[in-house]
């Protein structure tokens, strides 16, 4: 504060302006979410009359009772949880097993370039929507839980991040271990992986968020809506505006809820898991993505 008092008046004006802009930007990011949260806890009449801004009016939890009592919501929520629990370990196992050999130089692994191009090619070119769908259909995964896991099991971008991280590790440690007789397997799991813990933590969190947020596969690959993960289910009830709750009369019996309050409640429940991993995510990701994007 003393530094502030000593600074010139132009500098003071700038500092005040700067704080206003930055706090304004932070509020712009935060307030829409707060508004939706307030709507989810408000009575339908208050929401309808436009009285709700940042604090609930006519506080009640009926929308949440309704949403959490809906079997479709619970089923799809559990499918998403299962998807994270199965999909993330598989993503990570494959990422590590691919990134490690590709982090070796040509003298150690002479097929490296061929494999790297094999994987990079998939980032440069894709067959598009219809061939992708037809292929998955041909492998018999339509309406199967594994359709959400196997086609996206190899996250190429994460492989490249980890590959670059492995390459930045000091080579001497591994060389010393090899001289002592360590084989590839030991070098990978006892040296490279433990030394890369921060990068691996980042990727785990990225994978969790990716699995939790993805909705298109569910929508495309599941014919039966009972198999939808949460975000696909929410796509059909929140975003797709011709399928509103108004078709079912059961919610009208509850005075306090409306289409808007229940949508807001569902949006918030689906955000909670992201909020839970966010503190961990934020601890690591800056390091992780900077590593990936500025690697020279």
């Amino acid at each position: 504060m003393t530094a502030f008092r000593k600074s010139s008046s132009g500098r003071k004006a700038f500092v005040i302006f700067n704080y206003m802009v930055l706090i304004g930007a932070a509020l712009a990011c935060l307030l829409p979410i707060v508004n939706i949260l307030a709507i989810s806890f408000s009575s339908s009449s208050a929401v309808g009359s436009g009285a709700v801004r940042l604090w609930p009016v006519g506080f009640n939890v009926d929308s949440y009772k309704y949403v959490l009592g809906k079997p479709e919501f619970i089923t799809s929520f559990l499918i998403s949880v299962k998807r994270v629990l199965v999909g993330v370990p598989l993503n990570m196992l494959l990422t590590i097993c691919i990134a490690y050999p590709l982090s070796k130089d040509k003298a150690q692994f002479k097929w490296r370039s061929l494999y790297v191009w094999f994987f990079i090619m998939t980032m440069l070119f894709s067959g598009g929507l219809i061939p992708w769908y037809m292929t998955i259909k041909a492998t018999g995964l339509i309406d199967s839980f594994w359709a959400l896991i196997l086609p996206g099991a190899v996250p190429i971008f994460n492989v490249i991040l980890l590959l670059n991280f492995f390459r930045s590790l000091p080579k001497e440690i591994e060389e010393a271990a090899v001289i002592d007789g360590a084989n590839v397997w030991t070098a990978l799991w006892k040296i490279a992986v433990p030394l890369s813990a921060p990068a691996i933590a980042t990727l785990v969190l990225f994978c969790i968020v990716t699995h939790w947020n993805s909705w298109f596969e569910g929508l495309m690959l599941m014919n039966n809506p009972d198999n939808y993960p949460l975000q696909s289910y929410l796509q059909t009830v929140i975003v797709n505006r011709d399928m509103t709750l108004a078709t079912s009369a059961d919610w009208r019996s509850m005075m306090n809820i409306s289409d808007r309050t229940t949508k807001a409640a569902q949006v918030f429940v689906a955000t909670v898991p992201v909020l839970l991993v966010y503190p961990f995510l934020q601890k690591y990701f800056a390091e992780g993505i900077v590593l990936g994007s500025v690697k020279g």
Binding site: G48, Y100, W111, I130, N213, V267, S293, V294, K295
Partner: protein, 299 residues
């Protein structure tokens, strides 16, 4: 220097095998599936067994009345996003860099990064509510200061700008990270000598901070050029509606409607193939440029 080699190189192949198989099936077979664009598809014969149709589907594609509009929309929307996301994150990184109070700096960062991690389903739910012309809080606030309600998502002249605005809202914080990292890497002695030469804060920003950010700006912009035809399927699909197709329909949403809703598989594949080929050229070009001018390599 001794060249150290593992005794058994073939274990590398073994480690790679499961990944290679999955990528072959789910990435390479679909790549080969582009032959659909040249076939007359019959479900009983499959992607590869159906009879050939030559260039018919491409001729049809070029005769579609909306194809040029959709191509223009795609380029227009993503060009605006690229420009906005080249400028806004840099400005905020510079502003944040001037903040000395660690608590405020940290809190602002925590809040502005967060929207990046929400899906466009969640954000669709939020924006459809708050931007609603009759009930949304944004229009209620506009009305309270005497401005007529704006149909952000339903008016065809507003829609592309709503897309750009909401994209900035979601991504500017995340885009800032690389610039903050670049700022942290600036040699402090540069500032010290500038102060000795009598440079004020503004001069320091202009002559030290900004030049240090330019290589990163160039790199990020070059890399984003490869994605010009990706105008953001998730976002557009969850925010658009038939009344804004004229200004908001993009290649990916068109492919979805032709392929999934109209079940014209071959035409959808043809449009998708056109996009993939152009994207391949743009991506290769942008990586080549990035390599040439900034020494950037992806691996």
């Amino acid at each position: 220097m001794i060249k150290l080699k593992f005794r058994n190189e073939h274990i590398f192949h073994l480690l790679l095998l499961p990944g290679v198989i999955l990528v072959l099936i789910y990435n390479y077979i679909p790549m080969a599936g582009i032959v659909m664009a040249f076939k007359r598809f019959s479900p009983s014969k499959g992607m590869f067994g159906s009879p050939w149709a030559g260039w018919d589907h491409f001729v049809y594609m070029l005769s579609m009345p909306n194809i040029y509009q959709v191509l223009w929309n795609t380029i227009f929307i993503s060009a605006m996003k690229i420009i906005a996301l080249a400028v806004v994150p840099v400005v905020f990184a510079l502003l944040l860099n001037e903040v000395k109070n660690r608590l405020i700096k940290r809190s602002v960062q925590t809040i502005v990064y967060f929207p990046h991690f929400l899906s466009w389903i969640i954000l669709g739910g939020i924006f459809i509510d708050i931007l609603s012309p009759s009930e949304g809080i944004v229009n209620r606030l506009l009305q309270s200061i005497g401005i007529e309600p704006v149909y952000f998502l339903g008016d065809k002249s507003w829609f592309p700008f709503t897309l750009v605005g909401t994209e900035i809202w979601k991504e500017f914080g995340y885009g800032m990270i690389v610039y903050l990292a670049a700022l942290a890497g600036v040699d402090p002695s540069l500032y010290e000598s500038a102060v000795m030469d009598g440079a004020g804060r503004w001069k320091q920003t202009l002559h030290i901070t900004l030049p240090n950010l330019v290589p990163m700006m160039v790199l990020m912009t070059i890399l984003s050029l490869g994605n010009v035809l990706n105008a953001g399927f998730d976002q557009v699909f969850n925010l658009y509606s038939p009344q804004v197709y004229v200004s908001g329909d993009i290649i990916d949403t068109l492919v979805y409607r032709i392929g999934v809703q109209d079940a014209q598989y071959e035409v959808a594949t043809a449009v998708g193939l056109f996009k993939s080929v152009v994207s391949l050229l743009l991506l290769s070009g942008s990586y080549a440029l990035a390599y040439r001018y900034t020494d950037y390599r992806i691996f």
